[in-house]
């Protein structure tokens, strides 16, 4: 079993329920393919540093998981097909750092007034 960190970005103009659906979908894929979710983080809506697929804003999800190569392969295969994702990134880590969160969660939907 290896430890991985996975980050997903969805377009910023999506609603909360839509975002949650996408997030749950990929969580299911991980658990089905012998993976184990250790921690999830929602970084919320952030301004992208550069435009990606005509998007200026994106909603960030972050998952810390344990699994093997097959889990990641299956996860990334599903994400490559998905058009409702802007981008994703998997990073292999030696040990999970569960204490520090660099992005404190804010009430994003209140701030931008979208529901």
């Amino acid at each position: 079993m290896n430890s991985y960190e996975h980050t997903l970005i969805t377009p910023g103009n999506m609603s909360e329920t839509q975002n949650q659906k996408i997030f749950d979908k990929y969580k299911n894929i991980i658990t089905k393919n012998s993976g184990k979710i250790i921690k999830t983080e929602e970084w919320g809506i952030r301004n992208l540093a550069h435009k990606i697929k005509r998007n200026k804003k994106g909603f960030y999800f972050h998952i810390k998981l344990e699994g093997d190569g097959k889990t990641i392969k299956e996860l990334e295969r599903a994400e490559n097909i998905d058009e409702s994702l802007i981008r994703f990134l998997t990073v292999k880590v030696k040990k999970h750092d569960l204490e520090t969160n660099f992005f404190e969660k804010e009430d994003v939907y209140k701030k931008f007034g979208k529901k």
């Binding site: 980050t7 970005i9 952030r46 992208l48 540093a49 550069h50 990606i52 994106g58 960030y60 981008r87 990134l89 990073v91 750092d97 660099f102 992005f103």
Partner: protein
Amino acid sequence: MKRSKRSNTKRKDSGKHSKLNLFQKPGLKFFKSCPLSGKEAPVVDYKNIKLLKKYTYESGGMLPSRVTSVSQKKQRELAKAVKRARLIALI
């Protein structure tokens, strides 16, 4: 008493300089230790944007290690972290 004080100041002056001094003797080497290695150094990570921005230009390129005096090993780690952060548009 005076002697001991003098000897103390002399010791500090000799060797490598840790700060740029206006009245620095010529021939002494300017030396700054790596800010990222050591016991209480911050962890280099692609999520730590605050740290990465210190070691990059505003345009996004890396600052050379001869400016920031980061060690070779840590500079390699930094480069990898910056590339990851660029991919998910954090920098």
